[in-house]
Symmetry: C2
Subunit: 188 residues, 2 copies
Amino acid sequence: MSKILREHIEKITSLTDEEFEFVLSHFSLKRFLKHQFLIQEGDFVNNDFFILNGLLKASHRNEENKEHILQFATENSWITDPQAYNNQTIATLNIQCLEDGNSLFITLENKEKLCSSLHKMESFFRKKTTKEHILLQRRVLCLISNNAKDRYEDLLKQYPSLIQRIPKTMIASYLGVSRETLSRLITN
Amino acid sequence: MSKILREHIEKITSLTDEEFEFVLSHFSLKRFLKHQFLIQEGDFVNNDFFILNGLLKASHRNEENKEHILQFATENSWITDPQAYNNQTIATLNIQCLEDGNSLFITLENKEKLCSSLHKMESFFRKKTTKEHILLQRRVLCLISNNAKDRYEDLLKQYPSLIQRIPKTMIASYLGVSRETLSRLITN
DNA sequence: GATAAATTGTGATAAAAGTCACACTAATTA
DNA sequence: TAATTAGTGTGACTTTTATCACAATTTATC
């Protein structure tokens, strides 16, 4: 199953077998089940999760207990509470599983060690983060410039297959619209 | 003036004098004047700009020619069209100066060279990008969970002094609200 | 200092989106 | 398979926000 991680890294930086073994030694495997929390608000956040298969969401609950979804993660993507992970503080996000699956996770300590000892991996994480930054900027632009309908259509275009796996209520929460409004946008 | 860049980098990674000289040799100085474009939609994007002083905005114009502001950049921050810069494609954003100032810019080629030859700088850029990612995620959360008034107040709290230097029309564009609505939020 | 350009506030109205309530269906699970 | 639970659609209504228009003011420029 670790082949998935290797292929993921090698889309950016190629590795020798020895190097990949070394990289892998910094990760641990974690299975997860639907409804399970990988991170819960208030937890100390040690891990960044690379998802091998399955589906998860990262979300925040505001004072009125309304949930807002920041991210979905599926095979070949990473998920954590970045603020809490990188600053070694308490989580403000919840990361919860929507489908059973498996992940390889890495502690911040191990990530820093890995980056120090293998320049290629420092480069990998820099480039990966840069790509994520570009996607997030695109999402911000979509949020400030489009109405609910256009945001939904943009999402459909960007992740057509992912949408099929996610309840509309959660899509609405990701888009920043009420579920009723989204429902009317789709059927009309 | 390059001291500003050195202090900026050394908030994350310390450098020897020789190392900093080496880093600096990868940058060039560019002065800019109010109204000037550093990047215009359709340009080929070569440079990432580190701002020494002055004020700029990065924005996008949609089909209806409405402008939406993605970012403001001031002293000690970086600005470019990340999508175009990193993928070496044509700009979809405009970067325009709101106040005269100076910048140190680096081409993608030089950034990659620098990262390859000086591991510390690869680490610097990784950590800087991670911090930016955290801030962008915070902005996304704000956009999907707050109404116009709360978004404005959040911005005020986060960048109280910056707001003073920017016309309300542009603040509105950054928040994703019409200028009229923002005006009413502030006065009422 | 005069003129032009940019910025801002505000009224009237329209459009978009949110909220509450309820019924129906699909999916889980005991 | 019966009983819960989760997800969805839709009507009625309210609230928020956008749009258009115009006046006033501030700021830049010749």
